[in-house]
């Protein structure tokens, strides 16, 4: 039996900002309300809810809301709820919601991500530093943090160093990622960084963890983003053309570590991407718009290679040829990405892809965008998805 594919029928995003001081719930209500309106649904239609990673106080402002708080606040009566801290990347709630509607466990699932990392972090407990302020850590972070490899910038830094060493990439190639995305952000009213960025400013910015400088790192922000994932038959009644989730990839063939993968010029992204293409007849050349995880700029070339838009080691030339920026054949992160738009842990990237497929990305619209690919995560963390408007 073939199950009818799940769809995305609504997407919403709150006003994003730095040090907004707004409670996470107000961001969430704004995003969820917009997603419902986008889909032409009401609160009563929502019978499922998912998030990543669920409520946690482990890292300041990283996930202040779980499904419980949001169910309570929005008065939801659900048939299915789930949060997925250990799933295939930040995309896990979308993937599990898709499986839930395909199996008939729910009809319309609200998938959300809310963060207050900008307002919540302090010098002692910085955002996205696992174990910051704690005396002991365990799990995969215990092989990094005690060694003073406390930030993702360090872990991505040694991936970049090795990649540069093997393939001759330079910081100026990464600058093309950062500058191209900033150019997109100038046309996106919801992006946080909306001032032009020059190559000189990129080069002059302070180093964070070599070879990654300030503009190679995404920004902690306050905000929320929400999607409605709907069963195919239920999607027919929605306000917009449903975006079919054509395929999902969640493969992971190496250990849950940031340093033991045999070839650190590849990531979990390569495993998830391989899975993705095995589940569809579409090929990379069918893709019109790309949403690739850019917690650090180096992840973009690795995702391009993982998904097969170019060969291993070829991303620097692929980028230099102008493929991924404005007016490129394979535009990446057309809303500015997390580098310029702010860190919504992949949700913002997927939101932008949905806008593109609905033709709603005014000022930066990719002409006749019909198929999008989304890859979330870095290191061993990865999930991939193909979306298509019928």
């Amino acid at each position: 039996m073939t199950l009818a594919k799940a769809t995305i029928t609504g997407a919403g995003i709150s006003r994003l900002g730095r040090k907004t001081g707004r409670p996470a719930m107000l961001h969430l209500v704004e995003a969820a309300t917009e997603a419902l309106a986008c889909a032409g649904l009401t609160r009563e239609d929502i019978d499922g809810i998912t998030t990543y990673p669920g409520r946690t106080s482990g890292s300041p402002g990283m996930s202040p809301l779980g499904t419980g708080e949001v169910r309570n606040a929005l008065g939801l009566r659900t048939r299915w709820h789930c949060s997925t801290p250990e799933g295939p990347s930040q995309m896990a709630p979308i993937i599990s919601a898709a499986m839930a509607v395909m199996c008939g466990q729910a009809r319309h699932v609200l998938c959300f991500r809310a963060l207050t990392e900008s307002s919540s972090q302090t010098p002692e407990r910085r955002a996205s530093i696992p174990g910051a302020g704690e005396s002991r850590v365990d799990g995969w972070t215990s092989w990094l943090v005690p060694a003073h490899a406390m930030s993702g910038a360090n872990w991505a830094g040694w991936i970049a160093t090795r990649y540069f060493h093997e393939f001759g990439m330079t910081r100026d190639h990464l600058a093309m990622v950062a500058l191209g995305q900033r150019q997109f952000a100038l046309a996106n009213p919801s992006a946080v960084m909306r001032k032009p960025l020059s190559l000189q400013e990129y080069r002059d910015a302070r180093m964070i963890s070599s070879p990654l400088g300030l503009f190679d790192c995404d920004l902690p922000i306050d905000g929320a983003c929400a999607f409605i994932v709907s069963a195919a038959d239920a999607a027919k009644d929605c306000a917009r053309p449903p975006l079919r989730i054509e395929a999902m990839g969640a493969g992971l063939r190496s250990q849950e570590t940031w340093d033991q993968r045999a070839d650190l010029t590849t990531m979990g992204a390569h495993d998830s991407s391989a899975d993705l293409w095995q589940r569809t007849d579409l090929r990379p050349e069918d893709v019109d718009v790309l949403a690739l995880y850019d917690g650090f700029s180096i992840f973009v070339p690795l995702w391009l290679e993982a998904l097969g838009f170019c060969g291993h080691g070829e991303a620097k030339d692929f980028i230099a040829e102008g493929n991924i920026g404005p007016s490129g054949r394979y535009p990446v992160n057309t809303g500015g990405g997390q580098l310029s738009g702010g860190r919504l842990h992949g949700f913002g990237l997927l939101h932008e892809a949905c806008l593109q497929l609905w033709g709603d990305a005014a000022g930066r619209q990719v002409p006749e965008a019909r198929t999008a690919v989304c890859g979330m995560g870095g290191g061993f963390i990865a999930g991939a998805m193909l979306l298509q408007r019928n």
């Binding site: 365990d138 215990s142 060694a147 910038a153 040694w158 970049a160 090795r162 060493h165 070879p211 990654l212």
Partner: protein, 136 residues
């Protein structure tokens, strides 16, 4: 402040081997596979006959990064972090700070040897350049 690892049945030998000046890596006694992070079962053959062995404590830098950003107020920067292929333990890398050298002088392919920094009940491995003639 620097968080320390929680000691477990799996990792205790690794984090305390430095008390005797030894870098201890987990091996499977059945199939000889080196296992890192250490496990109570061999991921290759599922044998429970696993245990730690001291290795020479030398290795080769596979990759590195120089960290310039203080992630907590009293963190001293810059410093280099090296991802090191460990001699005598195929497939195992140990990531640690590099000491006794200019952080910006670290390169892929550098030969390094282990030292330890004790904090409470933990002996953190640290890498330092191999001094000619001193490696054993």
């Amino acid at each position: 402040m620097r968080p320390l690892p929680l000691l477990t049945a799996e990792n205790r030998e690794f984090w305390t081997g430095g008390a005797h000046g030894k870098l201890k890596i987990c091996f499977c006694n059945s199939c000889e596979r080196a296992i890192h992070p250490p496990q109570l079962v061999c991921p290759t053959c599922l044998s429970l006959d696993v245990g730690s062995r001291a290795v020479t404590g030398t290795g080769t830098v596979y990759s590195f990064t120089v960290n310039y950003q203080p992630w907590y107020p009293e963190m001293a920067v810059p410093f280099a972090l090296a991802v090191v292929d460990v001699d005598g333990a195929p497939g195992v890398r140990v990531t640690a700070q590099v000491t006794d050298t200019d952080p910006e002088a670290v390169r892929i392919g550098d030969k390094v040897q282990v030292g330890f920094r004790q904090i409470d009940d933990i002996w953190l491995p640290q890498w330092k350049p191999v001094v000619q003639g001193s490696a054993t």
